[in-house]
Symmetry: C2
Subunit: 289 residues, 2 copies
DNA sequence: CACAATGTCTGACTCTAGTCAGACATCCGC
DNA sequence: GCGGATGTCTGACTAGAGTCAGACATTGTG
């Protein structure tokens, strides 16, 4: 189905792309203009950031930026924090051009669906939203990150903040959270945004080769997309590669979805184990390897 | 939503296209190879046909064909029916190359959705099927055709055959069906295939400026996609432009979906009118203009 | 049978996209 | 404060995609 849809889509909606022409600017440049607006905001965005987001060659990007600059649509300046970096931001004319682009796309999208009835349009919107979520979920990128990785820290911060909000009693122990001994962290990103996080560490206080899963977090917008169990499987596999024969984890009774997921994924409830979190109320274990 | 999806899609699934590379052939050439296989079948396909299907420049297409020919993947010959035309068909090697392309795409598509659970994959397939149908429905092309248009005749043939099958008693009057006096026909196509058909003709036997809608047909795969009512609206508008103040049409009781659609679209049931089909059992009219 | 229309092909282009090597400045750790 | 790493930019490319004018053969029509 994916292939059939791909064919229909590129044939019929491919126009959405070509419409960027007619502004006298090639597609890639328009896309860049768009991205600078989206990522830049008030403060602008660094060239490096743009290169990562759009996955462009340094030379190619540089040339396109110069073109936009020559057209008076963007202004670049050295980043005060690091003079090697350059910060790009839209000028007034640039914002106008981007708005124009936006309007054209909007209008074209409206024209494409215009022949449909209201109910059909609703069905299409719904179907595309579902497909969007699932395609995004399917193409999420999982990777090991060191504890000091900035995106990892962001994810961890979200985890702690959410835990803190969830516990009316307050959870956070004061001071920064140190990386745990021998731990490995995995970060899942989508469009450069952290969407899930979690880690494993050896649990020497337990019998056998046990690993503990720690700090599992899934972005609120992504719950229900199967991301949690995917992260869990990934962490289990990592632990198994490091010689684990069993996995333990603890959680709190207020995290009902998490508990349901652990049970669904083959974990069985166990007694409190040594080294577990004092705030935890539920404990799980599973054999692996 | 269309735009958001478009962004996700081109970013994540754009790979489906690039995968055509790695075969040493550029994308457009691979697409052409694919299309020759799809459209050509046993008898091959004319260059003209390919140009229309892929919307390519004559020179561009010619060069790509030559490239495929040099690689030994296609063979061209003059069309016996018209020596100006050239017919292209895949060679044995061409069929193999196309199959290879097909396998790669299939494999890649499978890899993209691999991280999803079975249930998610099902949901994605369903969502894409819905989106596919609706996008196709939205981009269908309606145009007036002369009675002798080959695609129009094909549609009319389908109409007559289906009517014939539907009536156990047999419907068809013997001999070819002549175009009706002063009539105008509209054909809807998708990917060059006729998907709906219908006509109007003046009904001089009726009081006032009446037009009759005749021979409405919608392709079986397309029923429920709103195509019938769209065609109906289009025909009404055409009639109105020709000065009609009322529209009449007849149908048979066995065509229950059609009857439901007419009622939904504002037609009211009337008595048999002069000039109507002797096999018809239900008659409808509507004011327009 | 002349003539316009049709169908394909070649040649000569342009523009976009993308790659690679290296210049140059700045930053960071020792 | 030296040397490697990082970030950006320029120059010199290549290949793909697409456009346009016109050559040439064939076909249908008055």
């Amino acid at each position: 189905m994916l292939r059939r849809f791909n064919r229909t889509y590129t044939q019929r909606i491919g126009v959405l792309e070509e419409s960027f022409l007619g502004t006298g600017r090639p597609l890639a440049v328009s896309r860049l203009l768009f991205e600078i607006g989206a990522a830049g905001g008030e403060h602008g965005v660094t060239v490096r950031d743009l290169r990562e987001r759009l996955d462009l060659d340094s030379g190619h990007l540089s040339r396109m930026l110069r073109r936009l600059e020559a057209d008076g649509l963007v202004a670049t300046a050295a980043d005060p924090a690091d003079q090697r970096r350059r910060v790009v931001r839209l000028t007034e004319a640039g914002r106008a051009a981007r708005q124009d682009l936006d309007d054209r796309s909007e209008e074209l999208a409206a024209r494409i669906v215009a022949p449909l009835t209201d109910r059909q349009r609703e069905r299409l919107t719904e179907a595309l939203a579902t497909a969007d979520l699932l395609v995004r979920a399917a193409t999420i990128h999982l990777r090991e990150v060191p504890p000091e990785d900035p995106l990892g820290r962001e994810a961890l911060g979200n985890y702690l903040r959410e835990i803190d909000e969830r516990f009316s009693t307050g959870y956070r122990t004061s001071g920064p959270v140190a990386a745990e001994q021998g731990s490995t962290y995995v970060l899942a990103t989508s469009d450069g945004e952290p969407v899930a996080y979690g880690g494993i560490r050896p649990a020497p206080a337990l019998p056998g080769a046990a690993f503990e899963i720690k700090r599992m977090w899934v972005h609120g917008d992504w719950r229900g997309a199967g991301l949690g169990s995917r992260m869990l499987r990934h962490l289990e596999q990592l632990a198994a590669e490091r010689g684990a024969t069993s996995i333990v984890l603890d959680t709190n009774e207020v995290l009902t979805e998490a508990i349901a997921m652990y049970e669904r994924t083959g974990y069985r409830s166990v007694e409190r184990y040594p080294g577990s979190d004092p705030h935890a109320t539920h404990f799980f274990a599973k054999q692996v390897g």
